[in-house]
């Protein structure tokens, strides 16, 4: 069952009509397959045109879509022999940030990313993808390990932001994020980051300070959520669509600004319509980037990473 977004209502109506006709035609002698075909074509066209011109605010909805593929879906679809590694060795295990050894089409990597969860229970377990200090410290531990064993690092970024809570602050959320960013920059091995859903502020950049940053077509990446920006600058969260527009948070805008390096196209109607196709496209893009980086020395990789951020802005 697909859950429709507000702006998808015309598509939803068409698809409901198609389903009705299908149900009615079963066991019926009247052949309405031509009508179904016509409606299907119309629906596909409408979906494609809707998604070809999404506003930044609409893209934010798509990026947050409950059915959007998350970390675990990518692990299942494109990575083999995943060995999750747990704990920061100081405090605990944070399941908002998952990491471990994985194989991408024959390439051994350290895979790290946010997991938001897909139902109430798993969302709570993964804290809605909002990492705590121990999550970022685990990421640091895994990145350092990757460096020692010559493994490239692949990150999948999907968070509304790092968790804002009393204990997270007490345990040094800011320090943990800063150290994680530092660990990215210090890596002697290749690093490819992919913004697959929401790239929310410091909690995202802590896993995205890579030499190559990819972004799914309808993902968003910003310094603050549109709602947060609107409530501060417009004094009302209702201006979120305006804030989303003004902040330039879409893949297209970020490519132009040089903040990301490559856009990975999503299937018609967004990643949630075909998780497998999305994962395969992302996997192929990451593999290609890794292969290009593989030939470079540690010094060249670090320089590439440093220059990338020094020249932005």
């Amino acid at each position: 069952m697909i859950s429709y977004l507000e702006f998808e209502k015309p598509v939803a109506a068409l698809e409901a009509r198609i389903a009705e006709l299908r149900a009615a035609s079963e066991g019926d002698d009247v052949d309405i397959s031509a009508e179904i075909k016509r409606l299907e074509a119309k629906s596909a066209e409408l979906l494609a045109s809707t998604y070809a011109s999404l506003t930044p605010w609409q893209k934010t909805q798509v990026a947050r879509h409950p059915m959007r593929p998350h970390f675990k879906d990518y692990v299942e679809e494109i990575f083999d022999d995943f060995v999750p590694l747990g704990g920061d060795r100081y405090f605990g295990e944070d399941e908002a940030i998952i990491g471990g050894l994985a194989t991408l089409d024959g390439r051994k990597v350290m895979l790290i990313g946010h997991e938001k969860g897909h139902d109430t229970q798993s969302r709570i377990r993964h804290n809605f993808g909002m990492g705590k200090p121990e999550g970022y410290r685990k990421a640091v531990r895994l990145m350092e390990m990757a460096g020692r064993f010559g493994l490239p690092v692949v990150t999948l970024v999907d968070t509304s932001g790092a968790f804002p809570g009393i204990e997270a602050e007490e345990r040094g959320q800011a320090e943990a994020i800063a150290r994680s960013t530092e660990a990215c920059l210090a890596l002697p091995t290749p690093m490819v980051a992919a913004i697959v859903g929401e790239g929310g502020s410091g909690g995202a950049v802590a896993l995205a300070s890579a030499e190559r940053v990819l972004m799914l077509e309808h993902a968003v990446y910003s310094v603050i959520s549109p709602e947060g920006c609107a409530s501060i600058l417009w004094r009302t969260g209702e201006k979120a669509p305006l804030a989303a527009e003004a902040m330039k948070m879409t893949a297209h805008d970020l490519l132009e600004l040089g903040v990301i390096d490559r856009i990975v196209e999503e299937p018609a109607g967004g990643a949630h319509r075909d998780r497998r196709e999305t994962a395969l496209a992302l996997g192929a893009a990451i593999a290609q980037e890794l292969d290009a980086l593989n030939k470079k020395s540690s010094a060249a990789l670090r320089k590439m990473r440093e220059d990338r951020f020094l020249k932005i802005g």
């Binding site: 959320q173 800011a174 800063a178 530092e182 501060i232 600058l233 902040m247 948070m249 903040v259 951020f309």
Partner: protein
């Protein structure tokens, strides 16, 4: 009678309404009306309650550095890269901020000496658009670090920011890794990098260069946070503990090395520089 009441009573127009705006300043800590001249002579610290007031880049640099320090030129950055506009144009906000500031943006660096020890000092000014970190702040931070690398001396940064400059969107976020490139270079060069966390230091500034120092010094009572208190309360719906996210609280939780009163800051830095002499670095 306190010295203050005496001074006030001695004035012909003791009533604050009738005094010129700049003659009196109200302590944000205890609410006491303070004689501006005395307050500033006391490094903008309230003599009554010890509240450490927010200060601009120039007085801060003068408080830390020996006389004769040199300001580094403010780096040129692309202005208003997103053509951002909320209720006002970003360019108009910048103009207004500049009209009230001696500097073109919220971060000013200078090279000089601290009690005779060579150092580069960078200061973030909360008075300039809430000290917010945008491209100009990032570039000025990096320029300060470059200068310290060139001079082979310590880099001391006084932080104060409401967070990222939202009007520069993602480009403000990118200042976090950018500044971190430079803190790493200082580390690799064996140069001390000392952070002085002033009120308030929050958001992306805290989550990058403010928390990567060899030594973290906090000013008494300074708000030091990643997430804002309102956001935390809306998320967890719990009462926040007493003194939450204040300098002393961070000291208790191991995030800062020490809480130092402003009057002792210069001497503390000098002592630290003696120990962390770059010459000793490998």
């Amino acid at each position: 009678m306190s010295w203050l009441s005496r001074v006030r009573n001695a004035l012909p127009f003791g009533n604050k309404r009738e005094s010129p705006d700049n003659l009196w300043v109200k302590c944000p800590g205890c609410g006491e009306m303070l004689f501006t001249q005395e307050y500033e002579a006391n490094l903008s610290v309230c003599p009554r309650c010890g509240h450490h007031g927010r200060i601009g880049a120039d007085p801060r640099l003068a408080q830390i550095l020996d006389e004769g320090f040199k300001l580094l030129p403010a780096p040129k950055v692309k202005e208003d890269p997103l053509k951002f506009r909320d209720s006002k144009r970003y360019t108009d906000r910048l103009k207004a901020a500049r009209a009230n500031s001696a500097h073109p943006d919220a971060f000013t660096a200078a090279s000089g000496h601290i009690e005779g020890r060579k150092a580069v000092v960078g200061v973030q000014d909360f008075g300039f658009m809430g000290g917010s970190m945008g491209m100009a702040v990032g570039a000025a931070f990096c320029a300060g670090a470059e200068k310290a690398l060139a001079e082979k001396c310590a880099y001391i940064v006084v932080t104060a920011a409401g967070g990222a400059r939202m009007q520069e969107g993602i480009l403000s976020l990118m200042q976090m890794p950018k500044a971190t490139v430079m803190t790493r270079r200082l580390k690799e060069a064996g140069l001390p990098y000392i952070v002085v966390l002033a009120d308030p230091t929050t958001g992306g500034v805290t989550a990058s260069y403010a928390m990567l120092g060899d030594i973290h010094i906090a000013e008494p009572g300074a708000l030091i946070a990643f997430a804002g208190q309102r956001v935390i309360q809306e998320t967890i719906r719990e009462k926040l503990p007493e003194g939450f996210q204040r300098a002393e609280y961070l000291h208790q939780h191991g995030m800062v090395d020490m809480v130092v009163e402003r009057k002792d800051l210069r001497q503390t830095l000098a002592t630290l520089l003696d120990y962390l002499s770059p010459a000793k670095a490998a």
